[in-house]
Subunit: 360 residues, 2 copies
């Protein structure tokens, strides 16, 4: 590699033309004779010219940096969203300046001030899912902004979120397709947005299939494995016949699994189980033994980033003109669900797995 960076002026001198001519030709500006164009292009290639992005940013005002404002960066579910977003940004040669608000309003404000001063070209706000609220970015932060993994459903903002209604639907469809008819829903907190949405999709799909919801409603608890165990005892103790359970998390599903098995229930022969999170996904490890729904959080983040990249690119897309989710996600079961300029993605797929061979 050349010790000293070659500049536009070097190319111009070598090609025997002016700097402005080289500049125009290199950025594809039409008006140039074929001969000049060829010579300049050839010279630039020969000298391995790479325009200095620092100079370009300075003159164009585009920093090639995007702000990433995370509410809680190191959390298990934020990380994949951030990594997904950043992978997309890298593909577009955009750097990410990340600040972690750590649920601190002052840190959030300070981060926005810094991002503004830094002249970021855009902003991605990454929340902590649909169940945790906090104020949106002030309107006077006048930079293209996309929210993801937040609780926002405001049609005035672009927001990519997990489609929890669809998760409920997928879970129901899966269990129905297995031929189950006595299906229960072991949910997390009763008032959580995610619980409400998932149950809406779940209950509607069951109703459409003419199936009852066992216990005529979800069993409400929390996200933990211990709640799964408790729910199993409730189900076993109720004497109610159940042949399938939709669990709100894989942890709950594991608790259900252990306690039901302890109670003599065969999984999935007697009771089929489906969870959410696809939590054990270390390659070559985990050897998943329960069916689960993956929220595809990296894809969520990358979809949000791709959208922002289009906005930065001067795209004027808005409202219903947004690309549908099925255009954004490859190789996944998707369902576009467009509400005004808010885009919800299903961002989920079923991971079917074998039943546990461990008869310990």
């Amino acid at each position: 590699m050349p010790r000293k960076a070659v500049r536009l002026a070097d190319v111009a001198a070598a090609a025997g033309v002016s700097v402005s001519t080289v500049s125009k030709i290199l950025k594809g500006d039409g008006r140039a004779s074929a001969a000049t164009r060829a010579r300049v292009l050839e010279t630039a290639r020969r000298l391995d010219f790479r325009p200095n992005p620092l100079a370009q940013s300075f003159v164009t005002g585009r920093s090639l940096v995007v702000g990433v404002l995370a509410e809680n960066a190191p959390s298990t579910f934020s990380m994949p969203v951030i990594i997904g977003a950043q992978s997309s940004l890298g593909r577009a040669d955009l750097a990410a300046l990340m600040y972690d608000a750590r649920n601190d309003p002052k840190a959030r404000t300070e981060a926005l001030r810094k991002l503004q001063a830094r002249r970021v070209d855009g902003l991605i706000v990454i929340g902590e899912g649909p169940d945790i609220d906090y104020p949106p970015v002030p309107a006077d932060f006048d930079v293209p902004t996309v929210y993801t993994y937040t609780s926002y459903r405001d049609p005035r903002v672009v927001s990519y979120t997990v489609d929890n209604v669809a998760i409920g639907q997928m879970a129901a469809r899966h269990l129905i397709e297995l031929g189950r008819t006595r299906i229960a829903h072991v949910a997390a907190g009763r008032s959580l947005r995610s619980t409400i949405d998932r149950h809406e999709g779940f209950a509607t799909t069951l109703a459409d299939a003419g199936l009852p919801l066992v216990f005529s409603g979800p069993l409400y608890g929390d996200w933990k494995r211990t709640w799964g165990s408790e729910a199993a005892r409730i189900i076993l103790g109720s004497g109610t016949q159940v042949d399938a359970i939709f669990a709100a998390s894989d942890d709950i599903a594991v608790g259900l699994y252990a306690t039901l098995r302890g109670g003599g229930v065969r999984i999935p022969d007697d009771i089929a189980l489906i969870g959410v999170d696809n939590y054990a996904k270390v390659p070559g490890r985990g050897d998943r033994f329960l069916t689960t729904i993956d929220r595809r959080l990296p894809q969520l983040g990358s979809s949000a980033a791709d959208h922002l990249i289009r906005l930065i690119g001067g795209s004027t897309e808005s409202g219903g003109a947004f690309p549908t989710a099925s255009e954004l996600i490859v190789g996944a079961t998707t369902r576009p669900d467009l509400v005004g300029p808010v885009e919800q993605e299903i961002d989920t797929y079923l991971t079917d797995a074998v039943s546990d061979a461990d008869r310990g």
Copy 2:
């Protein structure tokens, strides 16, 4: 916020001095009368002047962007390292331009070319742990570089890695302190660097305590839960008395747990178990029920980034002058282990947990 950004020239005009005087005063350059200094500072504050970083980067040549070259960004163990690094970078107002090599040599080369062209101020290379090798960045990539979570032990590069010897020591000490005397090691692959290092620390600590290693060596397998189950059957079938097991991963530990329990063994009463990974760390979920060693991967990444930040800052530290690990990590059990300019961190802590209340 002002519609139009205020420039150095605006401050100069308002304060009645020259642009160069403002520039010098604002960056703390000494020679200035107290009166001028006060007036300029006050004016800058009043106008809320923020220097245009695009202009600054252009003239100084410092891009305020750091390259992040990840070997496999979305993998479970890479993500926390990347997020940790990026949090540190953000604290230093440095953006991260991340490329994901996806184990593709050509992608790696291309990423380096782009980072070079982008004039990044530094580079962080994030690997896939000590067990996977690939070539280092070519020497002609003349930018401060720090490696982390890679297999490098080359004293010519700065490399932050998990200290697996220390992990073995911690596991042994923990089990010894519990009063256990018949201690086994259920390891992953025999030839893995991590296995070898952990066993070195483990066996040495046992020997120092005058304790034998049951089976006179590790039981070798893989990282999976199923291997844990198989190992449990081996242990139970051997008739050998065992009262504690060091498992190479939490997945293995879970397999051991399930199968030992199935065999009538009480955990931890009869056999104490310790794993590695602290895998179930979703806040409020997981309700961890096994003792584990956390590798503190976010701290690993942030330590690497902090080191790079110092290098970029023009620090001339090198060789033994590097700060020790205990200076870098707060609130953790650390052990500085300095080998030339290579710095290894222990980056681990014990998470003691209650035994499982789930008697399912």
